[in-house]
Amino acid sequence: MFVYEKKLQYPINIKTPNPALASYIISQYGGPDGELGASLRYLSQRYSMPFSELKGLLTDIGTEELGLIDYL
């Protein structure tokens, strides 16, 4: 279960909008190399992870990857 925090982990302040660059950046949202896929991969790999240290690590990393969607 997740709780949403209404803030980013790192400040973003776009001074010069750049649509060409934006089209590259948005490709990191979904798709095979996107944050959405990355976060779900980490979070589902937990279920077959035998070591508690790595269950914890996959949980933390998967959660942070979900947070990155708000940046994009």
Binding site: K6, Q9, N13, G56, I61
Partner: protein, 152 residues
Amino acid sequence: MENTGTPREDCGYRSGLLPECAPLALTYTPMQQGSEPAYATNDALSRGTLFPGLDLPFMNLVNKTPTHSTPLRELMAIDFVVDELELYLDTHKNDSEAFATYQGFLKLAAEGRERYVARYGPVSQSDMINAKSYTWLNDPWPWDIGANAEEG
């Protein structure tokens, strides 16, 4: 495989493909040690890691800490250190020194959040426990322009 120290001209290494006679390379991944030194809170957020030992800036381009700080940035910096210590403790659960540091930062984060929420509104919905109305919907949201402006 012979290794003369200079690439062989007949090897075709300029063609952009991996040539047959390419020398082998060894990769090396250092393990993070216990009781690592740490950056100051604000520097950690700028550097992107709490641990100087893990700080390998791409092309030596270093992100500088802004000279002026905002309440949101301070909260982000403390929360970032908490996240970093959680990742470290996931694989070093018996490092009692790091755990004490972690607890200290949890306390700082809780206090910092209380001050921030009193002034700017809820960060999570449970922060509205003392609010007079349902302020969760107030702008800005994290993706709004200016929500993260350095001048706050």
